[in-house]
Subunit: 766 residues, 2 copies
């Protein structure tokens, strides 16, 4: 809001430079630490000079709150003229709350980017004689007749839109139309993005619609505002002050989601709290639903299976018990009385200690169907998570979800969706796809991805996740022969499912920029775009996001895109190369802990996953081992089952191999491991220097923030290499390969690092 | 940063109005709830229509991040011309980090407000011939000679400054000078505020300096970012990403503090965690200290008395044990090696379960002096909190601090300050002053106030606290005869103490506007101003803050000031009228709980404090009771000791009186109680309508936020009246007085209200 906030950058830079010249004497001396307590901070060697924060905010306008919806004036004058000619004024009747939003977004967004207030024309009457370049915005049936007469009625699917330039006599007009309000909203955001990213409008004829029904965020947010696996601060949902206090942030959150096509959100943790289903909390939830509704977003809540006992006063939660059935039916009625478009329940049952039907000797199917029957009268869904592994079953954890659910195909109610994580273990930097994809032709399915970086370096690592999502979506399951990609499971086309989609575990928190790492915004954005169309290209999405966020400078666009696109392979290499997985330190999952072996259940220990011994390393999931490969279609089972054909990126996921096993490049497995770790580090150090090469071409606050985080990422990449290679060396007994930087500290140093207050786990007051 | 963010407001308002016309159909129906679970939300009747958040952010630039440092262009053209004439250009050599900040703030602030880049003149050479209206900024010894020749050398105290218009021949120039960097910094912010608040500069000759040495914030922030008694989100201090990640917010925080003269901060909870004294955390703290330093702020940490055992490997923390003494000495050395200007330790010992010297049969004095000796070589202070009450001692809690510390006067080291809460109990809406003020002539003292609203409605009540602070500061202790005000204890003049000041428990959190309630910013601002000069007028401070925050529109200034000034008496009336105290619901202190009596220790139960019975109500602290009055100077003891002379605002604090006791206005005590509660409610409802009368004259986001919060405040004021009067009626057995609105629910409804996730207490995951 401040005058200084719109002054041209140069003077500020001059001041910064001036500052660095003069401020030498306040630079903290780097110098080695004399401390004995082992701690990551001891390895902090590679960071940019640390006194920048002193000049962080000459005038404090925080960066990043407006995300990719920062409709800055176009700097390209010729382009601006072209758009001004294509759009001279707008005709729109703002109908309803959604219509109001569309009207306001177009008026303000185009007005801002074209630096000319968008004239709004009144009644359709004078329209025929209107100036050329009229923007007409309305659902088809509300379009002025003279336009409908010109256009042949288009087939626009639900939530879809058409942006077409039409010719009325001599004049060209731009039409944005749809079958429903949601489509108009999505079309408006698309039109704004076309201008934002400098796309031509002349002769445009763009029909688009979401390929999926359900495009959903899952918030692992607790009622006390802590966020499980949250690294961007705390929960934006302040349950204590709801329903009376409606933080503008709730609407800004809905707006951001709508702008990328997200149409559903579960705002409470899957490790759930029954209290959210009590009347006072339902009224709080209603306040959120009322804010989300005009943005086309349906609210879901997580249902704790034992709620009938905890808040219902029953002594059982047995899904076949009539009282339990009646309680859930009544609860559903109570919910829909307050929230007529309530989406339904997201349920984590009999997993990691959560209550569920199995506590009563009932199956997942029986539990899910009972809840589904309660919601069915109101059109609600049950989203049942397939992330389960038995407390007793000694079998390979990677197999258990498939074993549990595959036989149940076709036995669920129509309004039950099975939510399946992208891989069979747990959101690792890289996993093979989950064997359930394509394996349940009769069951509606949601693919679950994690946008928050639990196993990918928290909010301090730059890892462009849509690259990972794309790899999963484009994987061929062969379930219906070649071309049976996960994308076709997600969009429902593989088995003609009317109901399907994608769920993403949100990376959103109270940080002013929403996601902690500025590039976390790209993961949120990209998730939404891929949920809209799972066949989009992650590189195109990156380019879109960069242009919308940082502007259209071609140098910035190409360099930042290149940096993003290689970031995902980098994290795989410096954390878990060649198919290694789940070797993270326990509970907080911050940093390496391949040595951890003290937990009661085998699959809670990293040693269970890497199986390193004097002979070799890796998890044998072939017929000689757990035979998890057999859960895939024959084509994949065969390929993964033989080290010779198994992609090296999955080698140690499926095979236990000797340290001297020869990789395709001729290196031994041991050498290859070390060189992969090194490769990851080298990539990150390249990312940092590439970023530093963009200084001055980016918003200063964002530039410095990302630079600091890349410094941390580089330091932690080295930490991973040192800790893992030193530990694995105790088994391999071999020298580190040439080309691998020697570790900075002995193994015990890394084993002794403790992070009692790492974010994302239960807070502990002392 | 967005073009739309600086477009004139009107279009937006039009849109808003349009929106309200069209959006009827999304308005949630209010309607009575059919739920049986008792909950505050059931009483939500009086709130503004709830769908506003839907239009909260047509373009999301969050309000309030820049606090009172929002240097908007002056709207008064004549005034702007006058300032432009008085300040045509600036001469300043930006020396050091602080000089850089001063230079940048003046250049940007004046440039923004006067809408004209402030020309910066180079060498002093051409100065004599310079244009009129030169702004000269330098510590005295660096001022150009021609100016020093004109001026007689002023006596400027440490941290003080002089702003004087001087005449050089025909020309008038403006001089900002000081004895030190801090003074220059404070002078720069003062000069900016003079312009911001439309004060004349012509003929100005303003010499000002802080009246206190120590002007300090205490953050009750935990290392996991939860904040004890925090209601504005979570801790802004992200220990996990420090020291590498230097959030610009750290500098913005320091800047805000410096702008009101705060020069010290303790960033960790007094219920402390020894981990903060380990090497890794000291390096994290160093990063903060480096950022704070150029803003004139010294960093303090809280010292857990048992740290030598918890992180030092000793089996004792006995302050007289040589190993313990040596450990603390070494730790001090370690701290000062990293943070040369480290402020020292803030200690809560043997209070509410915290470890301390008494665990070893040693006195507070012995504990404090041991730590003081460790810090003395480096010039560090020990700030020892007087907030103690014995685990066993059955005596009146209000007496215990005095009993414990008064006899120790003169026995502490010179670098020990005793930190005394403003009242003898615990930050109540109103308390008599603490009897220790003025009672320890030989002991450096800090007055501790709570800026966060633990007992004042959290961040949803508008209560202007400087009014409360002023009442305490202006209270006469009579310790050295009439005129021995608490202000003179705070500024050290009562007993000529070189070291003294004020500490405030911060209300700062991760909320974008820092304080949750927009008016919480005024409490932070006002605390700083009163710590600078404890004799300032709270009304003047309010006016300053309003002008700096909301602009100089006289209607806004006068109405908002009036609203703020009566807000404090309102909360006393609707929570704890006539001297009632500590009748809050347990642990979270959110809302009334006068009936609570189940806690093990008497003084943890509200019933202990109101002593209501069939005969009457109130705590007898006269000679017939605990005789706490005897701890005050005779003048006060006498006045408070007799109901006839005791101010009615303290009546039930000092006396147990019959329900039919006649108040000065002729009402019985019972009637008066009910009418006071009603008066509090009526004041709040007046505040709400006054606020609504300002719609359109205030930033829209701030207007709506405050309106929602006032709605909650009104609802909760009624809650207090209903709950307390229904409960006290069970003793008085009398009808409610005429003029008191009847309660909305029966007593049990209020007793059953539960708030498991009220903020500010230990989070609990389920």
């Amino acid at each position: 809001m401040k005058f200084t906030s719109i002054r041209p950058a140069p003077p500020v830079f001059t001041l910064l430079i001036l500052f660095f010249l003069f401020s030498g004497q306040v630079l903290p001396k780097p110098g080695a630490s004399d401390s004995r307590e082992p701690h990551l901070a001891d390895t902090a060697r590679c960071l940019p000079e640390p006194n920048r924060a002193v000049v962080a905010s000459p005038n404090p306008i925080p960066w990043g709150y407006d995300l990719w919806l920062n409709f800055e004036p176009l700097d390209d004058a010729r382009l601006k003229d072209a758009y001004r000619e294509a759009i001279t004024g707008m005709y729109m009747e703002p109908v309803g709350a959604t219509g109001q939003i569309v009207y306001r977004e177009l008026t303000e967004g185009l007005g801002s980017m074209l630096e000319r207030p968008l004239e709004s024309l009144p009644a359709p009457a004078g329209m025929k004689s209107a100036e050329a370049g009229l923007l007409l915005v309305a659902t088809w049936d509300r379009l002025p007749r003279f336009i409908r007469e010109i256009m042949d009625r288009p087939e626009i699917p639900a939530e879809g839109f058409l942006i077409r330039q039409v010719r009325a006599g001599e004049k060209k007009h731009l039409v944005l139309t749809s079958a429903d309000d949601a489509g108009l909203l999505y079309g408006a955001y698309r039109l704004l993005r076309l201008v934002q990213t400098h796309q031509p409008l002349d002769g445009i004829d763009l029909l688009d619609a979401p390929k999926t029904k359900l495009r959903m965020l899952n918030h692992w947010d607790n009622l006390d505002r802590t966020v499980e696996r949250g690294y961007a601060g705390f929960s934006i949902f302040n349950w204590h002050t709801l329903p009376e206090l409606r933080d503008p942030r709730y609407a800004d959150y809905a707006r951001a989601n709508a702008s990328v096509g997200i149409n559903a959100t579960a705002v409470t943790n899957v490790n759930s709290n029954a209290l959210v289903l009590t009347a006072p909390y339902i009224r709080k939830a209603k306040a959120l639903a009322d804010i989300f509704r005009p943005y086309g977003i349906r609210l879901y809540l997580t249902a704790r299976f034992s709620a009938p006992m905890e808040i219902g006063g029953l002594e059982t939660a047995d899904p076949l018990d009539p009282r339990v059935i009646a309680w859930w039916a009544a609860k559903a009625g109570e919910l829909y009385a307050e929230i007529p478009d309530f989406g339904g329940f997201l349920v984590k049952a009999n997993s990691e200690g959560q209550p569920g039907p199995q506590n009563y000797g009932r199956s997942h199917r029986e539990g899910a169907n009972m809840l589904a029957d309660a919601l069915a009268p109101y059109g609600g869904n049950v989203i049942w998570r397939a992330f389960v592994y038995s407390e007793e079953d000694p079998d390979d954890r990677a197999k258990q979800a498939y074993t549990e659910f595959a036989p149940e195909d076709g036995k669920f109610r129509e309004n039950v969706l099975l939510q399946v994580k992208n891989g069979p273990i747990d959101f690792q930097p890289r996993e093979p796809v989950h064997p359930l994809f394509g394996a349940m032709p009769e069951t509606p399915m949601l693919a679950e991805f994690q946008i928050t970086k639990e196993y990918l370096g928290f909010a301090t690592h730059l890892v462009y996740l849509p690259r990972l999502f794309e790899e999963v979506l484009q994987t061929d399951t062969y379930r219906e022969g070649p071309g049976s990609t996960v994308a076709r499971v997600v969009d429902g086309s593989l088995h003609d499912k009317p109901l399907s989609g994608m769920a993403g575990v949100a990376n959103i928190g109270t940080d002013i920029n929403w996601t902690g790492h500025p590039f976390g915004q790209a993961d949120w954005y990209g998730f939404g775009r891929l949920a809209w169309d799972p066949n989009l290209d992650s590189g195109d999405i990156a380019e879109e996001w960069i242009r919308a966020t940082f502007g259209n400078n071609p140098v910035v666009v190409s360099r930042v895109q290149a940096l993003m696109m290689r970031s995902r392979e980098a994290v795989v290499n410096y954390m878990t190369p060649l198919g290694l997985h789940h070797i993270f330190d326990s509970s907080h999952h911050y940093g390496p802990g391949p040595w951890v072996d003290e937990h009661s259940r085998p699959e809670w220990n990293p040693v269970y996953y890497h199986q390193a011994d004097s002979l070799g390393i890796g998890f044998d999931r072939t017929s000689t081992g757990s035979n998890a490969v057999a859960q895939y279609a024959p084509e994949l089972a065969e390929r993964y089952g033989d080290p010779a054909t198994c992609p090296e990126e999955f080698l140690l996921w499926f095979h236990h191999l000797p340290w001297d096993y020869k990789l395709r490049d001729g290196h031994t497995l041991w050498e290859g491991l070390g060189l992969k770790y090194q490769e990851g580090i080298d990539t990150v150090s390249g990312m940092l220097s590439d970023w530093q090469g963009l200084k001055g071409l980016l918003p200063d606050a964002a530039y410095r923030d990302v630079e600091m985080r890349l410094g941390i990422q580089l330091q932690e990449a080295r930490w991973w290499k040192d800790a893992c290679m030193l530990y694995f060396q105790t088994f391999s007994g071999r020298e580190f390969p040439e080309g691998m930087e020697p570790p900075a500290h002995p193994l015990n140093y890394y084993k002794n690092l403790k992070f009692p207050y790492a974010p994302g786990i239960r807070p502990q007051w002392d």
